[in-house]
């Protein structure tokens, strides 16, 4: 009897112990999670409660001091660069390890390992785009050409890995505990992969849609509805700039054949509308103190932990401060004791597609001119949590990977398309650019630093203490004949090849222009006199004009003015289109009481998209419904296409409201712009009736519901929803519901540098810390935290200090 009861209790106790350590479906192992000494409870401590005076970091030449200010911004003081980046890796991992790892796993197409089959399609897509392939080439390039930079990237990786090696269960970020996995070793490769991931986030192309549109509309209508330059072009580089070089632009070959079929492929995910950025610099002659002022606010997906992490990095020879990308070395957008710089996405169609004609089903060779060229196979092994390994064979041509084939996204059509993208080349050194910018002292150093930079192409704004302001559109841009790469091309025809790259010296740039400022907001880079083909579908048409008008108008500029401009919520698109729409509406539907109320709101609105403004809500719905109605027939052609942009739609509505594009073939009679504006207004009334019944207030912030989402969307409790802030797409404060100003910085380059910065998040990656989201209310109000340099010995405003040795 005793044996039986002992054995049963033994079995029961062991079973309990084991069961509590096992995951059930999505439920993580309970005992390790709840154990107050090791589980999630330990993640409740904020960093200052866990402050350590010394931490062990091996392989240092000298001790490194880390001083945290009251916002948990670390200021790292090292004796040399190797120590500096080793410490940057260690400290970044200490606060953002899970995010760094998660983002690079996403970039490598390895999310299925963590979350299971739901991520498999995404992982396949990522791998077919060849991000990892590009990063591998990048590492071989560094090994061969730039071992000095590689040594620094490896020091950073060593710092991250030493942190991982010291990591206790208690300090393990809570996401690992919830998703039940552990961090793996970091490497130099992962740092490069992260930069490739940024390219993927920022680069899109509409070649698929343009190919279909050309078939549906014909070339003439395509050019009319989708012109390559707008009527009122207000480019990044001022129009007055003279291009005094001999162009290398190739001429278009005669009688080219394009692939015939209407393409039924599933388009790649595009950078979401609202992804973009502003940056500008004003020269001393326009500012109150006579110092240049530089401002930058990249707009990206709003996530927690934030994409950005602030730091000051100091050695005896340089001190630099600003925003880092966890996983990459140095400061990405920031300032040092001599210069400041910032980045916006330099949109341009640099990703092209080639139809591949294979010799036979084995896909071992493909047609190229008169010959058959051999292919290479890359087998992608995708580990899937809870399932067997998934093998995906990707065929590589000399153009790049065959993204679309019968096994992927092209099941309705037997076609093969290869992608050509600078990201696969690996002959670039973006990491070095940032490390050189961190130390740059003047315009010449800045220009030199940018020589290494290929992708994602950026508008690099610059200002120096010595009084220079500059802008350079930097990326490795292919040389194209006019129209090249706008449509899917025939890969068997060698004349369709890129013809080389625009030389560095010919990339559009300007230094100290007459107008006293430089600026960029993702618009056209240049005016039409620039001798290279610069087509892209997604150029901005509103933020740029608002920004340049304001900067032209302003004099005696202060830092406060520049902060206000970053937070500016003037909706230029509404200002240009709402009067047209109200005019076309001409009293339609105004019999109803609701309609009268909304019309009164609209007419009273001053075009500022502030949080409480109702006009902005009504306009955004009305305009969306109107364009939906205008382009419905075009969109329903049964093949992926996209609408003309808002700027062009509004130009048509106001200049030629009777244009044939407004006619609805399915409806009787002849329709004009007025018809669609009225349909849009009726839809607005329906939408508002539902909204008011369900949600009540329709002030802009209540309607757009800005949400800063945790990187795992299911972890809703770790997100911050319903942030009360204004702005929107096409507005300088570009904060929409999920995208917006992901980092704001304003720097005045006087004898002592004055700097301010903010981002919607917090320095800690830990959802339990008081520094996880403490910047959000400050950011939502358009306020900033102090980003002035700190000296090692400064005692004021110190949260705590740690010595690494």
């Amino acid at each position: 009897m005793k044996y039986i009861s002992f054995l049963s209790v033994l079995i029961l106790t062991c079973a309990l112990g084991v069961l509590a350590s096992l995951p059930f479906g999505q439920i993580p192992p309970l005992a390790p999670l709840l154990d107050p000494n090791h589980g999630f409870w330990q993640n409740s401590f904020s960093e200052d409660q866990l402050a350590e005076e010394t931490l062990s970091l091996e392989n240092l030449n000298a001790a490194v001091e880390v001083v945290y200010d009251e916002q948990l911004i670390p200021h790292i003081y090292a004796e040399n660069e190797l120590d500096l980046y080793r410490a940057q890796g260690y400290i970044t991992a200490k606060h953002r390890l899970w995010q760094m790892e998660f983002q690079t796993r996403a970039a490598a197409g390895r999310l299925s390992e963590i979350v299971g089959p739901m991520a498999l399609e995404l992982d396949r897509m990522t791998r077919r785009k060849g991000l990892a392939y590009g990063a591998e080439k990048g590492i071989s390039y560094l090994t061969e050409k730039d071992p000095a930079t590689l040594a620094l990237v490896e020091a950073y990786a060593d710092g991250v890995n030493q942190y991982i090696a010291q990591l206790t269960d208690a300090r393990l970020p809570v996401e690992y505990k919830l998703l039940n996995y552990r961090p793996e070793t970091w490497s130099a490769y992962k740092s490069l992969l992260l930069l490739k991931y940024m390219s993927d986030m920022l680069v899109g192309d509409r070649d698929l849609e343009y190919s279909n549109l050309k078939k549906i509309l014909g070339q003439v209508n395509l050019d009319r509805l989708y012109p390559e330059f707008p009527n009122e072009n207000d480019p990044v580089i001022e129009k007055e700039r003279i291009w005094d070089f001999t162009t290398l632009a190739p001429t278009k070959p005669d009688s080219l054949n394009y692939p015939e079929e209407t393409l039924q492929l599933e388009p790649l995910a595009q950078p979401t509308e609202g992804t973009g950025s502003n940056n500008w610099a004003v020269s001393g002659k326009k500012t109150k103190n006579g110092n240049p002022i530089l401002a930058n606010d990249p707009h990206l997906s709003l996530n927690l932990p934030s994409l950005w992490y602030s730091m000051q990095l100091s050695t005896p020879t340089h001190t630099v401060k600003g925003a880092t990308l966890p996983g990459a070395l140095g400061i990405i957008s920031g300032f040092n004791e001599n210069i400041a710089w910032g980045v916006t996405n330099a949109t341009r169609d640099t990703r092209d597609w080639y139809k591949i004609t294979f010799q036979d089903a084995s896909k071992k060779a493909y047609k190229y001119g008169q010959e058959w060229k051999p292919t290479e196979f890359r087998i992608e092994e995708i580990q899937v949590k809870g399932q067997e390994v998934f093998l995906d064979t990707v065929v590589y041509t000399h153009y790049g990977p065959v993204v679309y084939d019968q096994s992927f996204k092209a099941d309705r059509q037997d076609v093969n398309f290869a992608m050509r993208w600078i990201v696969h080349q690996g002959t670039s050194n973006e990491q070095k650019t940032f490390m050189l910018l961190n130390k740059a002292k003047n315009h010449a150093d800045y220009t030199e630093a940018l020589k290494e930079y290929a992708a994602p192409a950026q508008n690099f704004v610059f200002a120096s203490k010595s009084g220079d302001i500059a802008m350079r559109i930097q990326g490795k841009f292919p040389l194209k004949w006019k129209g090249q790469g706008k449509f899917f091309m025939n890969g068997a025809d060698p004349r369709m090849e890129w013809q080389g790259y625009i030389p560095f010296e010919h990339n559009a740039n300007t230094l100290n222009p007459e107008r006293g400022f430089v600026s960029s907001a993702n618009q056209h880079p240049v005016d039409s006199t620039y001798p290279y083909y610069v087509f892209d579908h997604s150029y901005e048409h509103y933020r740029n004009r608002r920004l340049n008008r304001e900067l032209s108008r302003m004099e005696q500029i202060t830092v406060a003015d520049m902060k206000a401009l970053q937070y500016d919520s003037y909706n230029l698109q509404a200002a240009e289109s709402l009067p047209v729409m109200l005019n076309l509406l001409a009293g339609h539907g105004s019999a109803s009481k609701e309609a009268q109320k909304y019309l009164a709101d609209l007419k009273a609105w001053d075009f500022f998209a502030d949080p409480a403004k109702k006009g902005q809500t009504l306009y955004s719905i009305w305009f969306a419904e109107t364009t939906e109605s205008i382009w419905r027939e075009l969109m329903e052609q049964g093949a992926p296409v996209m609408r003309p942009n808002n700027y062009q739609t509004i130009a048509l509505m106001s200049a030629s409201p009777e244009d044939s594009v407004f006619d609805v073939h399915m409806a009787e009679g002849i329709q004009t712009a007025q018809y669609h504006v009225r349909v849009g207004f009726d839809s607005l009334l329906v939408a508002m009736k539902n909204w008011e019944a369900k949600e009540g207030d329709y002030g802009w912030a209540d309607y757009k519901k800005t949400t800063i989402q945790h990187l795992v969307p299911n972890f809703k409790a770790f997100s911050v929803a319903g942030v009360n802030t204004g702005g929107g797409s096409g507005i300088l404060n570009a904060t929409g519901s999920r995208h917006g100003a992901s980092w704001r910085m304003v720097v005045e380059l006087g004898s002592t540098i004055k700097a301010f910065g903010i981002y919607p998040g917090g320095q800690s990656g830990n959802p339990g810390s008081r520094f996880y989201d403490n910047f959000i209310p400050i950011w939502a109000n358009g306020d900033y935290v102090d980003f002035d340099f700190r000296k090692k010995e400064d005692q004021k405003g110190v949260l705590f200090k740690t010595t690494l040795k």
Partner: protein, 123 residues
């Protein structure tokens, strides 16, 4: 008396040992403690349970108080349990069950060995 002693020692054991070892080592240690202290069957179960349950409860309350972190509430929402308070209770209950069975196991083992010895002695 033994029950109180065992409960108290269990709690102390959890508080100090659990800092450096995972929960399952604590479970084994509780069983060993029960072998040494020799509480009754019920005493082993409730002593171990209360020891570990109260220790875990105390620690969660302590951590919540000193950090005033919103994490327990966030975790509660994430796990569909509502507030952080339910996680405090869940942690305490889990501690009670794990500790209780560990204590009971130790008592059972002791009884087993004791009986054998007595048999040998009498025989």
């Amino acid at each position: 008396m033994k029950f109180l002693l065992f409960t108290l020692l269990s709690a102390l054991l959890v508080v100090f040992l659990n800092i450096v070892t995972p929960y399952w080592v604590v479970m084994i240690a509780l069983a060993v403690l029960a072998v040494l202290i020799r509480p009754s069957v019920w005493g082993g179960f409730f002593g171990g349970g209360l020891g570990m349950g109260l220790a875990w409860l105390g620690q969660t309350v302590y951590i919540s108080a000193v950090t005033s972190s919103t994490l327990p509430d966030k975790m509660g929402a994430l796990m569909g349990l509502g507030s952080g308070l339910s996680l405090v209770l869940l942690t305490a209950v889990l501690g009670f069950i794990l500790g209780g069975f560990s204590g009971l196991l130790g008592v059972m083992f002791r009884n087993l060995v004791q009986k054998k010895r007595r048999d040998v002695y009498l025989g």
